[in-house]
């Protein structure tokens, strides 16, 4: 009796804006599905430009996730376990790409890794490595925006790992490196995977930094988001919408698949 009455108490004052909010978010996606060129979807997606862009996007996004993981996880470890002056600043910088406008990020990358950039000039002179206008450059741009996701989830995971397990492992004779490999890492692995998947989805959808830093060349740096943008410009809206649909399905799949992991990091804490 009391339970039923309690449920009815959800006030309109809260529900109305909530419904508006949900509509606000869902409507554009519905619009995409509504206007999707279902009849030409397969043709659009199998056209040479689309196929090239899809293949390239897959390569760059996976590469970017790998780079972000290799750099971001150790960084997260240091942030979680070490204390040093300026730690808060370093953490803020690691999360900067999350809030920085992507194009600004692209410009910053140019100034750092471009042909005349701080590091880029040296890379070019000494190793002959050039990043702008290359696929590697696209990977760098995508890694830049994906890294914060890996750092955040990994740092939280490392913080939450029960030190007591690590203590137990050490008393059993495991060196710190062994403890990390055989106890800590397996315990944080699920969280790391979640962070990597999220980072991957973000890398997949990156536009501003990619086009600014890596440029736009079909087969080399024209990832799916760039192809969507240009298809729209040239009036090939069918291709644009079809590719957008692909990205939408992928991102939805990722978010649904992750569910509690991202929305409640403590909800699925290790025992």
């Amino acid at each position: 009796m009391r339970a039923r009455r309690a449920r009815r108490r959800l006030s309109v004052v809260v529900v109305a804006p909530a419904v508006l909010g949900a509509t606000f978010l869902v409507l554009p996606l519905v619009g995409l599905l509504w206007r999707a060129p279902w009849h030409s979807l397969v043709d659009d997606l199998t056209s040479p430009e689309a196929r090239t862009a899809l293949r390239l996007s897959l390569v760059t996004s996976l590469g970017a996730t790998l780079v972000a993981a290799c750099l971001g996880i150790p960084l997260a470890w240091v942030l979680a376990r070490a204390t040093f002056p300026g730690r808060r600043l370093v953490r803020a910088m690691a999360l900067l790409p999350l809030v920085l406008p992507p194009v600004v990020g692209g410009v910053a990358l140019l100034l750092a890794f471009g042909r005349r950039g701080l590091l880029g000039a040296w890379l070019l002179d000494w190793f002959g490595i050039r990043l702008p206008f290359t696929t590697a450059g696209a990977i760098v741009a995508e890694a830049f925006v994906a890294m914060p996701f890996l750092v955040i989830t990994a740092e939280a995971a490392f913080r939450n790992v029960d030190r007591r397990y690590e203590d137990a492992a050490r008393t059993l004779g495991a060196r710190p490196a062994t403890v990390f490999r055989r106890v800590t890492l397996p315990l944080v692995a699920p969280a790391l995977v979640a962070g990597a998947v999220l980072g991957w989805a973000r890398a997949l959808g990156e536009f501003g930094a990619t086009i600014t830093f890596a440029g736009n060349a079909p087969g080399r740096t024209q990832t799916v988001p760039l192809e969507v943008f240009l298809a729209l410009e040239s009036g090939r809206s069918g291709v644009a919408i079809s590719l957008s649909l692909v990205l939408l399905v992928v991102c939805l799949g990722v978010l649904v698949g992750l569910r509690e992991r991202w929305l409640g990091p403590s909800a699925r804490a290790e025992p």
Binding site: R116, N216, A217, S234
Partner: protein
């Protein structure tokens, strides 16, 4: 028990809604300009290559016709055409080529375009021309990195045509979204050269310089700038007045100063 809290919540919500409504109603009214009525703002969609010239024209127009103001939106002509066809609130559209204007005209969103200016292509290179470019043929060199506009952008279409005409077989490192992005890549030092307009070379000032393209004067490599009043304009008379101003001696004088040619 919670009536106090919910009353406060309802009150806040009502105030918020009222404020939103008031803000929405506050803008946009269509009245004739006069010294006593509110100023008219014209939405002018102009191609990126017109950035510097039209900014100046816009200022002069506001002085010349009191009670009006020109709000300028500079993007690639293809982007602008798409937006206008999607219903963007523009009054005037000035495209950098006829195909993009045709996209708008054939959709019924503009009529009777008039050519207001012309432009020519030029090769933009770093200041001092360190790599000693002499023409398009130098772009074939394996060490050269050059950029073009994307093919949908007028500058890109013309640039590709220029390369074909010169028999140059070379692949650009990137196809930029608009001509100003090409300029940026060259001035930042990322690209050695880019095909832009003469006006862009002039506008880049001390950061870069231009190298002439042999066939630039050919009719099929010249950029034509048609201007038209957009159908959904709320101030069609003022829109026409703006286009007339561009074609007036004062307007043309500004354009000439920035490197454009007369219609």
């Amino acid at each position: 028990m919670t009536t106090m809290a919910s009353r406060t919540r309802s009150g806040t919500l009502v105030v918020a809604v009222m404020m939103a409504v008031a803000a929405a109603c506050g803008s946009g009214s269509s009245t004739r300009p006069s010294a006593t009525s509110p100023p008219v703002t014209l939405g002018v969609f102009a191609a990126s290559s017109l950035t510097e010239a039209f900014t100046d024209i816009g200022r002069r127009y506001a002085k010349a016709v009191p009670g009006t103001k020109a709000e300028l939106d500079f993007e690639s002509s293809s982007d602008l055409a798409r937006k206008i066809n999607d219903g963007a609130p523009a009054d005037v559209f000035v495209s950098a080529d006829e195909p993009n204007m045709d996209k708008v005209v054939s959709a019924g969103n503009a009529a009777a375009p008039k050519i207001v200016s012309r432009n020519r292509l030029q090769l933009l290179v770093a200041k001092g021309n360190p790599k000693h470019f002499t023409g398009l043929a130098d772009l074939e060199h394996p060490d050269v990195l050059f950029v073009l506009c994307a093919p949908e952008v007028p500058c890109g279409r013309l640039g590709a045509r220029a390369l074909r005409k010169a028999g140059v077989v070379a692949e650009p490192a990137s196809l930029e979204a608009n001509v100003k992005a090409v300029v940026s890549k060259v001035t930042l030092g990322e690209a050695d050269a880019g095909i832009v307009y003469v006006t862009d070379v002039l506008a880049s000032g001390a950061s870069a310089e231009g190298v002439d393209i042999a066939d630039a004067a050919d009719a099929d490599l010249e950029a034509l700038y048609p201007a038209a009043v957009v159908r959904q304009s709320t101030h069609p008379d003022d829109a026409h007045r703006f286009i007339d101003f561009v074609l007036s001696p004062e307007g043309q004088g500004v354009l000439a100063r920035f490197g454009f040619r007369g219609p």
